[in-house]
Amino acid sequence: MLGKLLKYEIKATSRWFLPLYVAIIFSAIINKFLFVTPIVNKAFEQNNSFVNIMQGIISSVSMFLYVALFFGLFVATLIVVIQRFYKSLLGDEGYLMFTIPVKAWQNILNKLLVSMLWTFTSTVIGFGSILILVPKEELKQLPYVVSDAFFEINQTLGAGGIVLLIIFAILALIVSVMEIYTAISLGHLFNKYKLLLSFAMYLGLQTVAQFLALFIVALSMKDINKPYVTDLTMQIGAPFRQFFIIANIILVLYAAGYFFLTNYLLEKKLNLE
């Protein structure tokens, strides 16, 4: 059943993202031609002020469009994460989604996985569009920059440090999305001002979660400054490594907590208008 849910969810959301992806890639290509290619540069060099001005206007406008699309991509991702949960589960469409023979957790997992999918592809497309804009000569440097970064990370975090970071990023994404879902489900417990209260719930959850996480990290790393830890025989990255391990554990607990709370609210406290 989860597979079928995923199929419809991807279908419902792709009609927002695919056109946006096409638009941003297209816009990046146009900008590349306006800025980078020699034909355009020649036009700039000509001592023709009208051409210069027109070129200036066109390239500014197109650059502005690209930047707007770039940020729009991430705003759209956030809006879709919120709207697909709020509208399709807790709005009128919820009457259908909660009366098909699937469990509440499958509905939640479906939304979570598809939100993660689009966040990932939006990030890839967003940075991919930057790569289109980067001049060729500098693009050649990219593999070196990346391998340097990997080297640095492993140096700082110890062997497999990059894995630790990737797990951290995935968990952070899950927690961010689940935090939104939990806040919306909590806000839905009220009869009025549901969206406003969802937002207030989000601020509340965020504050408590951050405070608690910082507290646990500080507590568990208080030994770090003791002499035996800073012993030169130990890896210089030990504190960073320890930090990410603790952070990952905290994130797993948060993700599980938010998931169970959301599931409980949708199963036992559901009250569609």
Partner: protein, 232 residues
């Protein structure tokens, strides 16, 4: 006779308001049941609990031997008072959705009914009028070969001419041995198709009888009995 729906002391409180108050009912198979009562009498609350959309405060309910959940959703076909259709699908795509999620959905039956009502399966749900959307929804619900149909105000929003068509659709399409529960306050329109009636008032069942019993005992039509019981 087997009961498709059994509930005992079913109650739902919102704070101090009792939306449903100690409802004990047995609804047998193969009946058309009118769930009747004025606005706010608990009809929708009852139907929502049957569909696992609300959790009862106390009491128990079983449909086909199961508490509301995945197993009951497979055998209950529910028409809410709301339009739950999204705006981006085509009619044919929502048929796909129903085929995918309900193993008892009869697609040919749905296409046939759409055809008779001259609704193009290729049209987008967004472009349909409110009345047409309601018809599509009723077709979807009645094209399932379910054991229990729970129809919340199926004729509330449509004109009298469409009402006859809808009632006709309901009678002609519910499977044998299945039970149809209809909630409404428009009694005279549905009186002729009912086998049983349940009167709800302030969350309580005040009368549950067969239509024949009511006629024999009081000599009144359901409509006039309703007016008498619920006189303001």
């Amino acid at each position: 006779m087997n009961n498709i729906l059994k509930c005992e002391n079913l109650s739902k409180y919102y704070g101090t308001t009792k939306a449903l108050d100690n409802v004990t009912l047995n609804i047998p198979q193969g009946r058309i049941v009118g769930l009747l009562g004025p606005n706010g009498s608990g009809k929708t609350t009852f139907i929502k609990i049957c569909n696992d959309l609300l959790t009862p405060t106390k009491g128990s309910i079983q449909i086909g031997g199961f508490a509301p959940g995945v197993e009951t959703k497979k055998i209950v076909s529910y028409l809410p008072e709301k339009t739950y259709l999204n705006s981006w699908m085509k009619v044919s795509e929502i048929l796909d959705f129903f085929s995918d999620f309900y193993s008892d959905f009869n697609r040919d039956k749905a296409l046939d009914m759409l055809n008779r009502l001259k609704i193009d399966p290729k049209s987008k749900l967004k472009t349909l009028s409110k009345g047409t959307k309601e018809k599509v929804q009723l077709i979807l619900v009645m094209s399932r070969e379910a054991k229990l149909y729970l129809l919340d105000e199926p004729i509330g929003g449509v004109d009298p001419a469409a009402r006859d068509y809808i009632l006709d659709t309901i009678i002609r399409n519910y499977s044998e041995n299945a039970t149809v529960v209809l909630s409404t306050h428009l009694i005279s329109d549905i009186e002729k198709i009912l086998d049983d009636i349940i009167f709800l008032k302030d969350g309580q069942v005040i009368l549950a009888k067969t239509v024949d019993e009511v006629r024999d005992e009081s000599g009144k039509s359901i409509d006039s009995l309703f007016r008498e019981v619920f006189r303001c």
